[in-house]
Amino acid sequence: MSKGAREASARDRIAAQRAAERKRERRKRLMVISAVGVVAVAAIGLGSWYAASQDTAETPALAQAPATVNSDGTVTLAKAGVTGPVVDVYEDFQCPACKALETSSGSTIKNLAAEGKAKVVYHPVSIFSAEPTKSNSIRAGAAARCISDGKQWLAFHDKLFQNQPSETVEGFALNDLVSWGEEAGVTDPAFPECVTTQKHAADQESQSARVMREAKITGTPTVKLDGKDLPNEVAFVPAKLREAVLAAGQ
C-alpha cells in the first residue's frame, strides 16, 4: 500500500469514527427526548383519568329519606330522628354550577340522608340580577313552591336541573314547568294554576334576599356542613364530600 493510500484510509477511518459517534449521540438524544415525551404524555393521561374518577357520581339509593317541604320554601331530607350533621344546600335552578353540583354530588347528598348519616336541607334561591336568568330562576323557584309533597318536590327539583336552560336564552317556560311537575308525580289539581299565575314569585324573591343576607351566601351553589361553608374541592368531589360528612357525624 502506498503512503498516499494509507493516509487516505486513515482519513476515512477517522471520518467514519466521527460519523458513528455523531450517530450514537443522535440516537442517545432521541432516546432521552422520547423518554421525557412518553413520561409527559403518560402523566397527562393518568391525571385526566384521575380527574374523571374523582368526578364519578354515586349510584342513587333505591329508597330515599323522607322529604318534608317547609313553610319557608326549604325542603328537609332526613330519616326520622336524624338531626345532624346538617348539610345545607343553597342552589339556584338556573345556575350552571348548581347543575354541575347536582350531577356530581347530588346522589351522594341524597344517599347520605337515606343512610341516616346526615340531615339535608335544600334552600332554593334566586341569585341572578340580569335577564334572562333572573326571570328564569324566579319562574322555576316559584313553581317549586307550588308543591307540598316532599317526594314530588325532590323529583321536580331533579327535573329542573336536567332541563336547565342556557344562561343566554329565556327558559323554564310556564307550560313546561307544569308538565315537568306532572311528570314528577304532582297530582295536586291546584298545581297548574299555581305555576301559571306565578303565585309564589314574590315569596321566592323576598326569601332569596333574606337567605342570601342571613346565611351570607356569596354565590351558588353553597354547601354548608353544620353551618360552615364547604370548599368547592370537597363539595364537588363526591368521595370527599361523603368523607367530610361522615367525619362530622363521628
Binding site: 391525571g47 380527574a51 353540583l101
Partner: protein
Amino acid sequence: MAADIPASRWPLSAQGAVPWVTTIARLVLGGVLIAAGWLKIGTPALSVQAVKAYELLPGGVATAVGYGLPILEIVVGALLVLGLLTRASAVVAGLLMLAFVAGIASAWARGLRIDCGCFGGDGTLAAGQEPAYLSELLRDAGLVLCAAWAAWFPPGRLALDSALGLSDPPDHHDDNEENVS
C-alpha cells in the same frame, strides 16, 4: 435599525441577552400555566362546567377537555420551567393560548356573559361582576408572544435541555430540528 437584523448579526451584548429573555419567557408562561392548572385540578366538575360555559364543544368533548386541561397545563408548565423539550413545550403552550384567545373572543362576539374560568371557577360571573374579556385577551396574547419567543430561541439559560445535551448544537442545527419538534 437593530430590529431588521437577524439575531446572529445583533451586537454581541444583545446576543447574550437572547437566552435570558427565553428563560424569562419560559418562567412567565410556565408559571402562569402551572398556577392555572393547579387552581382547577381539585374540582374536575367545575373545570368541565367552565369549558361548557363557552358553549363551543359538544358535551362529551367538553367533559374530556375539562378533565384533561388542568393536568396538561401543569405538565407543559413544568416542562417550560425546567427547560425540558423547550421548543415542543413552547409550541404546545402557544397553541393552547391561541385556543384560549379564540374561545374568549368567540364568547365575547356571541354576547355570552361568562368568566374565562382560566384560574378555576365554573365560568359564571359572580353577582354584579362584568365580563373582563379585553384584559383576558390581552393577557393571553402576551403569553402567546412568550411562547413564540421560547419556541424561536430555545432553550435559554438554566435549561435542562442544555444540561442533558438535548438542545441543538449550533454546527448541525438542521440535523436536530426534527428531534425536537
